[in-house]
Symmetry: C2
Subunit: 199 residues, 2 copies
């Protein structure tokens, strides 16, 4: 099952395919915020698209780090120049998490240093800062640090920032901003997180 290889099957192979080529290449700043499902998933979708274009990608996952999620295994199965870096010590402040705030902040600061180094190298086509809005909200990184990172990124590097509670300052800096609103969620019916969809 898992050793089969993904494939594309066009239902209408006679159809001519257009390859879009923007006259001007732009490194976009994309923000995915809100309380509904589909922010990290959406960032992962862009990672996949970038892979299809042969781009170099780095996804840094703030906050998370202690719960297995499918993309950790999937990235190894992608024959692309993509790195996923879980950087958190679990969710800061969540019940059961044993680490005090300074430990979470130290991890987030180390992560931010890696992000800065990767972004400023100019070698990456797409960098995802997953849950960075949460990290700002919980004061694991400072708003000014992230603003500085966004403002000084190389022109052609796409930057994607996810997480609830994006600040107005971050939204102001972005080219594309989506708010993912929860209309309903399976957990409200008592359904536990399911593999492949929720993690």
């Amino acid at each position: 099952m898992a050793d089969e290889t993904g494939r594309l099957t066009r239902l209408n192979p006679q159809l001519e395919i257009t390859h879009l080529k923007p006259e001007k290449r732009v490194g976009l700043v994309v923000v995915l915020t809100g309380y509904g499902k589909g922010k990290t998933s959406s960032a992962l979708g862009m990672v996949v698209r970038a892979c299809g274009h042969g781009m170099k990608v780095c996804m840094l996952q703030f906050m998370k780090g202690d719960i297995f999620t499918g993309e950790w295994e999937a990235v190894k199965k992608l024959n692309c120049d993509i790195e996923i870096i879980p950087t958190g010590m679990g969710f800061c402040g969540i019940q059961g998490n044993p680490y005090p705030h300074p430990v979470h902040r130290e991890a987030a600061q180390r992560a931010l240093n890696i992000a800065r180094e990767r972004i400023n190298s100019g070698k990456y086509d797409l960098v995802v800062l997953d849950e960075i809005n949460n990290a700002i909200h919980l004061k694991l990184v400072d708003l000014e640090q992230v603003i500085d990172l966004v403002k000084n990124k190389p022109t052609l590097t796409h930057l994607v920032l996810t997480g609830r509670d994006a600040t107005p300052e971050i939204i102001e800096l972005a080219d594309t901003v989506s708010e993912v609103k929860e209309i309903t969620h399976a957990y409200r019916k008592g359904i536990e997180p399911q593999p492949g969809v929720d993690f």
Copy 2:
């Protein structure tokens, strides 16, 4: 560049990893609707997660089919049992599209037959019906056909339905529904679609 392989680098390798195992496995119905960026991307993210769990996946793309998008190439680079099937004749009704409504409807109906066959086989862990809400809205498929598909899916198959203008009836059937609202979008500044982010 593109011949490197994806990798996972944990910043805190000392951290113990929890593997969530829901007591009850449920095949979820997920709807991603709204006018903002991040519906198909989000579905693609779930496809990636499912790949990480060794699941069998099929993504049928309604409407689309004539414009190259990164996931078409990426899926071939995924060492997973995943198939993407573009089924459309381009965007129905959009300026420049040469095909009359019956041609679009015929393609969508063929696609729906494939979806029905894949879903009812019970062999798939995740089936994505990308842009199906649009296809309903444009009367390429009937609402009743999709309701029938959702209501009669195997218990453990996850079904993801994307596209603007999801009907109340589809939302009512879903476990998790997100509305992706556009706060802003790069095209409003005259920025053309960019590879890796928009396609």
